[in-house]
């Protein structure tokens, strides 16, 4: 019986591989597995096999059936392949030219989205500005030492009798008084993003950079709201687990003034090489000084507010942990750098 099975198997293998099309293949299948098929017949005869060999024969028949069925499938597939046109889906594609948005644009888009989500209105104010909006209106009278901190570029243009000298705005805070004058009466929720200029150029400073300035004015605006808003920003922008802290600082146009730190994402605030004892400096903030509200025509007895102004590049780089050895590279046009971000 075993011999019979083996010979039937070998014969079938030869027939299947020799088949030229599906019709022939189907006929072979019927001859083997049909009601009167050869293999079917062998299966029926298992009961004639002596008890002691029966298991072995059963296994052999099953194996034969499986082998033959696999071969049928393979053969059918190969008929299909041959019928198809040759196609190679693995060939490398032709890419469209890949363009790229500048890191600053990406940062501005993300930052404005966060603030617009809590009702801030995005604006843009002049880069070439009067002294009044950049300094005097911000509680920094002429000759005030606080002006030194902003390495200001001055423009060779006639002074305005009311607004003073022409300069390149060294901070987006120059938009504060402009926004108050535009809006006339609170509530104010401004996010002003723009170019700023300072007379400095080294690996961590560029003469032209970007800042985003927030200004909120309404009745009963408190330090608690400043903390809340900046925490909201930090968590939306940097990640849920990040915290902020306020440290006392001084700016002429806010009182009280703060430096805002965000917990370091690299070490989760435990302290590492990239941070100062677990914290990274984000930038300045504070409660709007009553003199600034007055300069903007807003009654400081009725309204209060807070403001903050931070560097776009710096904030964005802190997010991704992007370490650029020389920040001036951002303002070169070298695509080898620009397309990395």
């Amino acid at each position: 019986m075993q011999e019979e099975i083996m010979s039937a198997k070998n014969q079938a293998l030869a027939q299947i591989t020799g088949a030229r099309d599906n019709t022939e293949l189907e006929q072979i299948r019927i001859d083997l597995f049909g009601r009167n098929g050869k293999i079917t017949g062998l299966v029926k005869r298992i009961k004639e096999v002596p008890q002691e060999n029966r298991q072995q024969v059963g296994i052999l028949i099953n194996e034969t059936k499986n082998t033959l069925e696999n071969l049928f499938a393979e053969q059918r597939n190969s008929f299909k392949e041959n019928a198809r046109e040759w196609f190679d889906p693995t060939i490398p594609g032709i890419k469209p030219k890949i363009g790229h948005l500048h890191l600053v644009t990406q940062a501005i888009t993300e930052i404005s989205k966060v603030f617009e989500g809590i009702g801030f209105e995005r604006v843009r104010y002049p880069e070439v500005e009067w002294d009044f909006f950049a300094f005097e209106g911000l509680n920094m009278p002429k000759g005030h030492p606080a002006r030194d901190e902003w390495e200001t570029f001055f423009v060779d243009a006639p002074e305005n009798p009311k607004y003073g000298k022409v300069l390149l705005t060294p901070q987006t805070s120059s938009g504060q008084v402009r926004e108050m004058l535009r809006v006339k009466s609170p509530p104010v929720r401004m996010i002003n993003i723009g170019k700023c200029y300072r007379r400095q150029s080294d690996i961590s400073h560029v003469p032209m950079f970007h800042q985003f300035e927030g200004l909120v004015i309404d009745e009963n605006i408190s330090i608690v709201n400043l903390k809340g808003t900046l925490s909201y920003f930090a968590q939306s922008f940097f990640g849920k687990e990040r915290k902020i802290r306020l440290r006392p600082y001084h700016f002429q146009f806010t009182e009280p003034s703060f430096e805002i730190d965000v917990s370091c994402g690299n070490c989760d605030g435990r302290g590492c090489k990239l941070c100062k004892a677990g914290w990274l400096e984000l930038g300045g903030a504070g409660m709007v000084h009553p003199n600034v509200l007055k300069a903007g025509g807003i009654n400081p007895n009725k309204y209060s507010g807070f403001a903050f102004g931070w560097g776009v590049e710096r904030t964005y780089m802190m997010k991704g942990g992007i370490h650029i050895p020389d920040i001036r590279l951002l303002y070169s046009a070298d695509l080898r750098y620009l397309t990395q971000f």
């Binding site: 469209p96 030219k97 890949i98 363009g99 790229h100 948005l101 644009t105 009702g119 209105e121 604006v123 880069e127 070439v128 000759g143 030492p145 606080a146 901190e149 570029f153 001055f154 423009v155 060779d156 243009a157 390149l168 809006v183 509530p187 929720r189 170019k195 200029y197 003469p207 032209m208 309404d218 009963n220 605006i221 408190s222 330090i223 608690v224 709201n225 903390k227 809340g228 808003t229 802290r245 306020l246 440290r247 006392p248 600082y249 001084h250 009182e255 009280p256 703060f258 430096e259 004892a277 409660m287 000084h289 009553p290 209060s304 303002y331 046009a333 070298d334 695509l335 080898r336 620009l338």
Partner: protein, 652 residues
């Protein structure tokens, strides 16, 4: 202003068991920011940033005073060891026999001096040297060191004259006149511009550039026997002007220009007398001359509990408020819910308004103890202008079509700008002296930076140009500009066409000469009659450049899109090849084809042999199906017109 303070020196005034790390943390959260603490032998040095308004804390004593108020809020015991502001041995008087000063009180609010006789000049003791050197001040000899020591310890600059060099024992403290000359201690000669504070002696010689640096004529040297110890409060604005104007930025000047406390003069001069005795064995006169006509009168500020709570955003008890303020040497009185605060002399420069008092309460309470809540209340009712999304959209389209965005510096060299462009008074260099009036030169440069590294690229930028206006700030015009390298002209122009099509604008391109572009190689982009920009080859350049006025583009594209029914009748499409004479403007041929009302669209599909142009044309009638004879009729019209106008032939 950054200062360095030795831990052991600080503890001479601050009695606490707090460890340096604890001090750093607490001070930074509630007071001056301690940037770092470093080992200094078996001692430590704090690097502290003192803000311009808090010149009162720019000293060992000032930091100790802050520490004494702040540390207890963190559960750490700390006590200030106060200096005595008086002496039973020395008297402050208006007239002395050893000096005859004439002082303009407007320039010098408080003038004190004392004669110290028979000083011995030698090196200072090691302890003094160590303290000075840890603060970054070089030890010289005991006399010079005394001045620096007092300045670091108390924050009051001090000067010493060689008494015997003051002719006639006379001093006239006055404003300088224009053109007067003075030689300072460091040997530099300055010609003064006027309005500086100077001191003249009995022979009319200038012996001091007050508050900035001593004069060479009255300088202490190795032969000095008698010194005049000199402690003043100067007019801050004048000191600053002189120091900045002459670029003579001494530590004394940077302190004086922030306004020192006239009350600080007393402990400073008494400390000086003591140090001269112990270090130089000098004997001070018992009478100190003190001209202080307008002596300090404490100011009071009143504010309500409600105001404090509103600004802080929390409720707080009157007792806590008083405790915090008292720890900072303010005096407080409550009248119901109204608080009257008396400001100590050393804070009288920076605590002027109720908000300033709120800051003191808030920082001692601890910003870290305040909750965080986004404000509630009405929204503004205004929303962000759609122009920002519009700009973003354009950048996205261009980068989607392979453009790479750059930001180039707005400040450029003279060669890059039009005449009359705005110039900086204090540029960083000649290559960044002007505000640009066009993005073209910047982008040509940007392309050059990448040539050689990349074969084809499209760089673009959206930035302002600055067009001067008379008696006003310049117009800041937001421009989109771009430059192509390795692109064919049709590819580059196609990107512009695609952009304008995405913005639903119908544009015309007209040949026009434009500044900076090669003659005949530039088209103006028009919407109706309004020019919004141009594209073409800049002079002497292989690159293709374009620029578009974003504000105009924004305005023109702010129209609603009107829905059009889709024609029920199918279009007929065919390719026609025209053979056109040399120098035919294909843009005009295309315009002619498009002008037929039954032509729904076209594209120029191929150009070969230089004069064979194959157009792919869609014919469609919205009202009925076009028959072959209809199409033939339209085609004939077009072919005829092209023949008449351009002398072109249809290719059989």
């Amino acid at each position: 202003m950054d200062i360095k303070i030795l831990d052991s020196w600080l503890r001479e005034f601050l009695d606490t068991k707090a460890k340096p790390a604890e001090l750093v943390k607490c001070l930074s959260l509630c007071g001056p920011s301690v940037e770092r603490v470093e080992k200094y032998g078996n001692d430590s040095v704090y690097n502290i940033e003192v803000t311009t308004n808090r010149i009162d804390s720019a000293s060992v004593y000032g930091i100790a005073r802050e520490g004494a108020a702040i540390l207890p809020r963190f559960g750490v015991t700390a006590k200030l060891k106060r200096i005595k502001p008086f002496s039973s041995e020395f008297k402050f008087v208006k007239k002395v026999n050893y000096l005859n000063p004439v002082v303009n009180p407007e320039l010098c609010k408080r003038f004190t001096a004392v004669l110290i006789k028979n000083v011995k000049i030698e090196d200072s003791p090691e302890e003094i040297k160590k303290r000075l050197e840890s603060a970054g001040v070089r030890a010289i000899n005991n006399i010079v060191d005394i001045s620096n020591y007092i300045m670091l310890e108390l924050g009051q600059p001090v000067h010493t004259f060689d008494y015997d060099k003051i002719k006639g024992s006379k001093m006239i403290l006055r404003e300088s006149k224009k053109g007067e000359k003075i030689t300072t201690l460091d040997g530099k000669v300055f010609t003064l511009k006027g309005n500086d504070i100077v001191i003249e002696d009995g022979e009319g010689r200038l012996i001091d550039l007050a508050g900035v640096m001593g004069g060479a004529l009255s300088a202490v040297d190795e032969n000095t026997k008698n010194v005049l110890l000199f402690v003043q409060t100067y007019d801050a604005v004048r000191i600053r002007k002189t120091s900045m104007g002459l670029a003579q930025r001494t530590i004394a000047a940077t302190i004086f220009e922030k306004g020192t406390d006239p009350e600080l003069v007393t402990p400073a001069i008494l400390k000086g007398i003591k140090l001269f005795k112990s270090l130089c064995r000098g004997e001070a006169e018992k009478e100190i001359i003190d001209l202080y006509p307008d002596s300090f009168k404490p100011k009071k500020i009143s504010l309500g509990l409600e105001f404090i709570e509103k600004r802080l955003g929390i409720t707080i008890s009157k007792k806590d408020i008083s405790d915090y303020l008292t720890s900072l040497d303010f005096e407080t009185d409550w009248y119901g819910n109204n608080l009257e605060v008396q400001v100590p002399s050393f804070r009288s420069q920076d605590v002027l308004e109720p908000e300033d008092v709120v800051e003191e309460i808030a920082r001692i309470y601890g910003y870290h103890n305040l909750p965080s809540e986004v404000m509630i209340g009405k929204l503004t009712g205004r929303s962000t202008s759609p122009k920002f999304t519009f700009e973003e959209k354009i950048k996205n389209y261009l980068s989607g079509w392979g453009g790479c965005e750059v930001y180039t510096l707005s400040l450029v060299s003279k060669d890059f700008v039009d005449q009359g462009a705005l110039k900086l008074k204090n540029p960083l260099g000649v290559d960044s002296e002007y505000l640009r009036t066009s993005l073209m030169p910047s982008l040509i440069n940007a392309a050059k930076e990448n040539t050689g590294t990349f074969e084809t690229f499209h760089l673009f930028e959206m930035s302002n140009i600055y067009l001067p206006r008379k008696n006003d700030l310049p117009e800041e015009k937001l421009m989109l500009a771009g430059i192509f390298e390795g692109y064919k002209y049709r590819e580059a122009k196609g990107i512009m066409e695609a952009l304008l099509e995405k913005l639903h604008l119908n544009v015309n391109f007209e040949i026009q000469e434009s500044k900076g572009f090669a003659a005949g190689k530039c088209v103006e982009i028009l919407v109706g009659k309004e020019s919004i920009g141009r594209i073409g080859y800049p002079e002497n350049s292989e690159n293709i450049y374009y620029e578009i006025d974003i504000q105009k583009l924004f305005k023109l594209s702010q129209k609603d899109i009107k829905y059009k029914d889709i024609s029920k009748y199918p279009a007929q499409v065919e390719d026609i090849t025209f053979i056109l004479p040399e120098r035919t403007k294909i843009g005009e041929v295309a315009k002619l084809i498009e002008s037929n009302p039954l032509v729904q669209g076209y594209s120029l599909d191929s150009v070969y042999k230089g004069n064979n142009f194959t157009f792919h044309i869609w014919y469609q009638n919205p009202d009925r199906t076009l028959t072959n004879s209809d199409v033939q009729e339209i085609r004939n019209k077009i072919v005829q017109a092209i023949k008449t106008k351009f002398g072109g032939q249809i290719k059989a």
